[in-house]
Symmetry: C2
Subunit: 316 residues, 2 copies
Amino acid sequence: MGRRSWTVIGVGGVGGYYGSRLALAGFDMHWVARGDAEHLRREGLVVTSPRGDAHLTDLAVTNSGDPLPDTDVVVVATKTINNAGIIPWLAECLAGRSATLVILQNGFDVEQPFVEALRGPAPDVVVVGGMSFICSARTSPGVVAHFDYERVTLGTTDPGPRGDAAVAAVVEDLSSAGVPTEPLADLVEGRWRKLVWNIPFNGLSVVLDATTAEMVSDPDTRAMVRSLMEEVVAASEGTGHPVEKSFIEEMFDSTERMAPYAPSMKLDYEARRPLELEAIYAAPVRAAEAAGVEMPRTTALWQQLAFLDRRNRNAD
Amino acid sequence: MGRRSWTVIGVGGVGGYYGSRLALAGFDMHWVARGDAEHLRREGLVVTSPRGDAHLTDLAVTNSGDPLPDTDVVVVATKTINNAGIIPWLAECLAGRSATLVILQNGFDVEQPFVEALRGPAPDVVVVGGMSFICSARTSPGVVAHFDYERVTLGTTDPGPRGDAAVAAVVEDLSSAGVPTEPLADLVEGRWRKLVWNIPFNGLSVVLDATTAEMVSDPDTRAMVRSLMEEVVAASEGTGHPVEKSFIEEMFDSTERMAPYAPSMKLDYEARRPLELEAIYAAPVRAAEAAGVEMPRTTALWQQLAFLDRRNRNAD
């Protein structure tokens, strides 16, 4: 069997980086872009990385909203903010096809609306949830800067052999492209695990205009980050997908080893793009609440962010 | 009996305003100032107010740290930040005297260190706690701008006839100067009551760079303000000095009637002065904790402020 074909929707810090690794490893790559489509066709994609820089040219680029090429794997690597528009389009494009759809996005329960929309029209599409642990950003059209980390974890929304096989095949593809990738026994636990980092650092970076390095070195923000992480761990326990408490120390350790970093939400805020508040704050708070677990600090941070986001996008 | 003599320590938005009302009513006023002392002696004190502007000249101004004139009443109207320096100086100046000492400051339990320091050297000084509900600020040396409100509440730290008489006399003096003033049956409850407003609005105005009007009109900040107020009310109940829940609605109503306003902590932050975090956040959180009541949102806000305050004062 030859290398599988992939479509990457969203050529940003996440999609651009992992797509470039797959392309360099010889996978048949297709790209779906919105504003950058014409630039990518003309100039290609530049990826700068401590693993080596790359310039990919002659890209097969489709405009967002146009029919999708028929590939083995389709990766959604856009912001969750756009999901309401992407889901019906994907359901139409993938109708009757067989494929693995990887939702490589931040947040809680982000796969479920895809699963529901595809169930009827595309019963042979298997939905896989993915998380990327990466410091990277699209810095200008067709340019992705990768700074640090790149690990991916993947779990199925379709328990059973079919879902497991889909996850295993994606793990194999990414691993063969040199990306450290691990299958998750429990996708929901994996989502909580990622939120242990995202909930404190994404939000506080915006509210306090601070880097990760500042937040872990100041005693008060460090204590607050810990309290937020403890809320997420308690929520994971309450919902029956427990993350072990020692994971908090691991997150502090890996954050301390990072270069001072502006999380994606901070970059979104600075660019006056909408913040991923539904996926990163609202959905987990709701899930915890349904399980009888309150997240008062997380809720307060989310409320602050909702105010700042609204004002930021209303500003001239 | 002639009008009593008063000393006002701290000629800012609070001390400057109330002192001016007393002076206009004919009280014998003395003023203690730090940086503005020379300016006040030379140029006097200008107070702009919807109640009428005033320019007081020929002021009796003492430098902070110098011996205090012997007056019937001494008002501490400085920021709590300076209390550690003020208390030993006051204990020395007031030793052996008879006077009423009014602690007209924000925060929780601010009177106690004064009471303890004076008990030995100045047993005839009666300490009264006061709260001002006022929108005012010192806008430049010798200039105080009063925008709205001016009510004062006062309660004793010395239960019994002596304390009650001291409160009654101060209420009478301020009332005779046209300042609406009320005695409190329970000073601690009064302190909690003021914190219902101060804890949300002072802190959030700094963290979110927002006015009171913005905070009450945005649905998310309004919900967060309400949650913070509910924590303060729960803490007041837990410590045995309950504020009624309906007070929250009163605070929203009066905030909506205010002109858009930057609370004192916001002005301190903009001027890179230290924030009153000990009095407004740390002390009430500790008191609640000792009574078994957690204040997670208040604690989180305090931690954010501690970070911002530290960075703000370390900045060039």
